[in-house]
């Protein structure tokens, strides 16, 4: 089992399946807070649901309203289980903290593929790849 070391942004421990985006994610205009579906045209995750998954992407982008979209996802029970980043900038950090979603950064996200089973321990700052999909 590979264990990746990172930094706590928002605490919590979860186990689940990953969904990976190689591109940055802008939540405002990118994800529908009501359905948890990815709606940004042309994005590699377009049409996919992030609900109940461990969402892995390099960093955030776009409007600061993205923080409120992340909060809305949690309130509507459509949120990802956890967020794993290379670098969490303030929009995603703010959203994850407001929503109480475990979030960790400084993780080499290129080591994780969609469908991997992960244990994210954002409190102690580790991501464990329990079962690799590749």
């Amino acid at each position: 089992m590979e264990i990746l070391k990172g930094r706590t942004i928002s605490p919590g421990k979860v186990e689940g399946e990953s969904i990976v985006s190689k591109e940055p994610i802008g939540f405002y205009g990118g994800v529908d807070a009501k359905t948890g579906l990815f709606i940004e045209k042309g994005h590699e995750l377009e049409g996919k649901s992030i609900k109940g998954k461990i969402l892995v992407f390099p960093c955030g982008k776009g409007s600061t309203v993205g923080s409120y979209v992340i909060y809305g996802l949690a309130k509507n029970n459509q949120a990802p289980l956890a967020i794993v980043n290379k670098e969490t900038e303030t929009i995603v950090a703010t959203g994850a903290i407001l929503a109480g979603i475990p979030c960790i950064d400084h993780i080499p996200v290129e080591r994780i593929s969609t469908g991997d089973r992960l244990i994210v321990d954002a409190t102690s700052g580790t991501v464990s790849i329990v079962r690799s999909n590749s």
């Binding site: 930094r7 942004i9 928002s10 405002y28 807070a33 600061t64 309203v65 923080s67 409120y68 979209v69 909060y71 809305g72 309130k75 303030t90 950090a93 703010t94 903290i97 407001l98 109480g100």
Partner: protein
């Protein structure tokens, strides 16, 4: 980062979920930016108020936190809304927009936040002192409080300013520290600055060049509050300037040694080129003044220039409710209305839905408005001095 016992308790959830998350947000930002501890702040200014900016996700977040009992610990003022809170019907704001905007205002009010709805809190009843630590968002107000007053704030976002308001503290980093307030670029102004719009044009040039650095100006002989407001707003829009110094004018300039810095000279020709490059439109559908919100002095000036005149195009003068009250009392509002214009409170051209109201070309005397209107409001812009604008529409 060092936390007191009481702060550790808040972080462990002893004061409830809202306080835990809001405080965690401050701690996390503090860790990211290398803060050593939390420091008390005297006031907050919260952005993210217009329904146009924050949409339904923002409405739902604010109502949720207000319902969970979030309450401001320090004096907190609010940025402009997407409409005049009292006269929105007369301005033909779509009713659906108005309903959501009012939900936002009520949520803030429930949290004990003053629904001031202005980008110039320092002209409307929230004036920090020299050296006071504050947590403000709204880029032009940040620039004014840091530079002209000598108070200390980083460029906060809406949620981090709200967190500072609810917790009464902010992480100690960035512009709260002496060593981070020194200039990184010397600007030599070799140009005539007559009108407030000249300061806007100068700010536009410098902001583009320095990005988030701290400029030190030489060659500005004099400038009043309105002109400094215009300069700072423009630099914070074309760049991310949160603090500037002007030799012999701003309070911290005397402590700075602007030696060995890269130098930029701004000439009359540079200003002229900026006026022309920012003017993307020809024939204005509407003139909008008051970005940042007009002071009473600016409204008095506009009112005197419009005395006995008739406007051929709509004209809005944007300001805070507090300043509008004084303008009403002095009869300035009535003079502007008699000419066919309006004095509008609580909002401005950037955060109101003007593109949905049929306007395509907006004339302004503000460098900040000229920077933002093409992107935020899909407008073509006429950027000119006040006299030039008024001549074209009277």
């Amino acid at each position: 980062m060092y936390l007191t016992v009481a702060e550790e308790r808040t972080l462990s959830g002893e004061n409830g979920e809202v306080m835990e998350r809001m405080f965690r947000l401050l701690v996390s930002l503090g860790e990211i930016y290398g803060a050593d501890k939390m420091i008390p702040v005297g006031s907050a200014q919260v952005s993210g108020v217009s329904y146009k900016s924050i949409g339904m996700p923002g409405v739902e977040f604010l109502e949720d936190y207000a319902n969970k009992g979030a309450v401001a610990k320090i004096v907190t003022f609010l940025n402009p809304a997407g409409m005049d809170i009292e006269d929105w019907e007369e301005l033909k704001i779509p009713p659906g927009f108005a309903e959501n905007q009012l939900r936002i205002m009520n949520a803030f009010k429930k949290m004990g936040i003053v629904v001031s709805a202005t980008c110039t809190p320092y002209l409307a009843g929230n004036l920090p002192r020299f050296g006071e630590h504050i947590a403000w968002s709204e880029s032009s107000a940040i620039s004014f409080s840091n530079s002209v007053i000598g108070a200390r704030t980083n460029r906060e976002g809406g949620p981090s300013a709200l967190a500072a308001s609810l917790c009464g503290v902010t992480p100690n980093y960035g512009l709260h520290l002496d060593g981070n307030r020194t200039p990184g670029l010397l600007i030599h102004v070799d140009a005539k600055l007559d009108d407030n719009a000249d300061f806007g044009a100068l700010g536009y040039i410098v902001g583009k060049k320095v990005k988030n650095n701290i400029p030190y100006f030489k060659g500005i002989k004099d400038a009043d509050t309105d002109q400094l407001k215009a300069l700072g707003a423009s630099m914070a829009a074309s760049g991310a300037v949160a603090l500037y110094h002007i030799e012999n004018l701003t309070p911290e300039a005397r402590y700075m040694k602007p030696e060995g810095l890269e130098k930029l000279t701004v000439t009359d020709k540079d200003l002229e080129e900026t006026f022309s490059s920012l003017s993307t439109g020809k024939d204005p559908d509407i003139v909008i003044l008051g970005c940042p919100h007009s002071s009473l002095k600016e409204i008095m000036t506009i009112s005197r220039k419009l005395e006995g005149k008739k406007l051929k195009k709509p004209l809005w003068v944007c300001t805070s409710r507090m300043v509008k009250e004084a303008a009403n009392r002095m009869g300035f509002t009535q003079t502007i209305e008699a000419a066919g214009g309006k004095v509008i409170a609580d909002t401005c051209m950037v955060v109101s839905p003007i593109e949905d109201m049929g306007y395509k070309v907006t004339a302004v005397n503000s460098g900040k408005a000229a920077s933002y209107l093409p992107g935020f409001c899909k407008q073509n812009v006429v950027f000119a001095k006040l006299d030039t604008l008024l001549e074209r529409v009277t």
